[in-house]
């Protein structure tokens, strides 16, 4: 009899509905209003790569050891360097990072012995062209140069 009443009065469905109504309070909204609301990505987030420069001298920290290029599973890093006859060290000339093939595994930044190459918290790296995703040394050091539109 009790079971019949429960099913007749649709109590089981009302219980489920009650759960839904419990969640109607506006304080429980989880949606982020991107782009006006910027998501806070974590400190270790693996996003757009950056080639760090010395904060004062603006010289690159990269020592052209090529370890990142060797560590990369996709072979997308190309390091170009020339041997400096005076210091007997390699000087960095070019650094190309093909973001279109990158899977942000972080093996390159793990491999870097001087913390020059780093995956940053920047996650907005869309581009209209494939070529735009191939970052040269300037883009890596100064950040990407998005298209500027006239007002």
């Amino acid at each position: 009899m009790k079971k019949f009443l429960r099913s007749f009065l649709l109590l089981d469905l009302l219980e489920g509905l009650w759960v839904t109504f419990r969640h109607q309070t506006p304080s429980q909204i989880e949606t982020e209003q991107y782009p006006s609301d910027r998501p806070a990505v974590s400190e270790r987030y693996r996003g757009a790569p950056r080639l760090n420069v010395h904060p004062e001298t603006q010289e690159t920290l990269c020592i052209s050891c090529n370890l990142c290029a060797v560590a990369c599973p996709e072979n997308l890093i190309v390091v170009g360097s020339v041997r400096n006859p005076e210091t007997k060290r390699k000087d960095l000339v070019t650094f190309t990072y093909d973001l279109s093939r990158c899977m942000f595994c972080g093996l390159c930044e793990d491999a870097c012995p001087v913390d020059a190459l780093e995956l940053t918290q920047d996650f907005e790296i869309a581009s209209y062209t494939r070529e735009g995703l191939i970052w040269d040394r300037q883009a890596l050091e100064e950040g990407p140069r998005p298209t500027q539109y006239r007002q």
Binding site: T20, S42, R44, M103, G106, L107
Partner: protein, 371 residues
């Protein structure tokens, strides 16, 4: 029946389901042979997401291949990473440090919860219950946030390295995990309130896609599908790895092996995962996170097979080493692929609408089926 077999009876017809069908959970194509609404036979056509992962492995070093395993079962990337790392460590006769093992257990169990949550949401969505998806994704978000804070990525985490971990725990990790565990159990009860008590849900699932334990064994089906059929087979219990023998937990089973039972088994598994996480996070041993292994991973000649209990079933990695830095051959035993074989058995005589329920209840990820 094969895809090319076009002999039909008068009242039979062939229906092509997928690969764009939203309820096949990816790019699975099923050719259904129907008699009215009844399914006479099914024929799965896979390979739309084939990327040749096993071949890629032969052209990468052991370290370089680790990010690729995340992309097979992308809903359980951490479990995939654990299986791969354990297999290479077995090849090298290395063992991860106790601290690394505890962290691995915490993260893989969190991943199990995340995987089951997404399964629950999409499975309910397939069957017309839209509400649970929002709630499950909300809880899953908390897990993904922990992953992001720990290793910097939410989905394709690349959290583990061969020999241990790359990243030390961040400040407040324990607190965050404990807070999640504390508020998660009431949430599972809430799902139960929404679905388990709901008579439409129960009647929709009861008796659909029945498979018994004996048939499961014949097909090699593992995971929640097998446990819902009554066999308490869980690799975490039967052949513990990564320190699972230290933790107390039950293997939830049910007896009738239908879709409703698989739903209950997965809900119970989430509760058990919380139990494991709470035990593990309460005493994470101190010490190094990386075992002492050579910087260049170069296992000796030999072969190793390691299988772990992934959220979807037994996930195995078989690696043959020829002594170089690259695997000679790598073979993955993905749970989704093997479990999918039972689809034909489970959907024989079912209605077309039930095929959607059965695909959902097997819990496949096509990235893993096709590899």
């Amino acid at each position: 029946m094969t895809a090319l077999d076009n002999t039909l009876d008068n009242n039979e017809m062939v229906l092509n389901m997928g690969p764009q069908h939203p309820s096949t959970h990816g790019v699975l194509r099923i050719v259904l042979k129907l008699d009215g609404e009844r399914v006479k036979s099914t024929d799965c056509i896979i390979g739309y997401l084939h990327r040749g992962v096993e071949k890629i492995a032969e052209n990468r070093t052991y370290v370089q291949f680790a990010p690729y395993v995340d992309r097979m079962d992308y809903l359980a990337a951490v479990s995939n990473g654990l299986g791969y790392c354990l297999a290479v460590e077995k090849l090298m006769n290395a063992v991860a440090t106790p601290r690394a093992q505890a962290v691995r257990v915490i993260l893989t169990e969190l991943n199990r919860i995340a995987s089951h949550l997404l399964w629950l949401g999409t499975h309910a969505l397939d069957l017309g219950a839209i509400t649970p998806l929002f709630y499950t994704l909300r809880e899953r978000e908390a897990v993904l946030k922990i992953f992001e804070n720990y290793c910097g990525a939410r989905l394709t985490t690349h959290a583990f390295r061969i020999g241990g971990l790359q990243y030390e725990l961040y400040e407040g990790f324990e607190k965050e995990v404990e807070a999640f565990c504390g508020q998660f159990l009431p949430k599972v009860d809430e799902y139960e309130e929404l679905l388990s008590g709901n008579r439409i849900w129960r009647e929709r699932l009861r008796g659909v896609g029945i498979i018994d334990a004996e048939t499961c064994k014949r097909y090699g089906v593992t995971g929640p599908v097998l446990r819902a059929a009554g066999l308490a087979w869980d690799l975490r219990k039967s052949q513990p790895y990564s320190g699972y023998e230290q933790y107390e937990f039950d293997v939830p089973t049910r007896s009738s092996g239908d879709t409703l039972d698989r739903y209950f088994v997965r809900l119970d598994e989430m509760r058990q995962s919380v139990r494991i996480i709470q035990q593990a996070v309460a005493n994470i041993p101190a010490g190094p996170i990386m075992a002492k292994i050579a910087k260049v991973v170069k296992p000796p000649v030999g072969e190793a097979y390691v299988s772990i209990e992934a959220p979807k079933g037994e996930l195995g990695y078989y690696i043959v080493s020829d002594g170089t830095t690259h695997p000679y051959r790598l073979r993955v035993r993905p749970p989704s692929f093997v479990n999918l074989q039972a689809l034909g058995h489970m959907s024989k005589g079912a209605l077309v609408a039930d095929v959607v329920a059965i695909i959902g209840t097997i819990d496949i990820v096509l990235g893993e089926v096709d590899r």
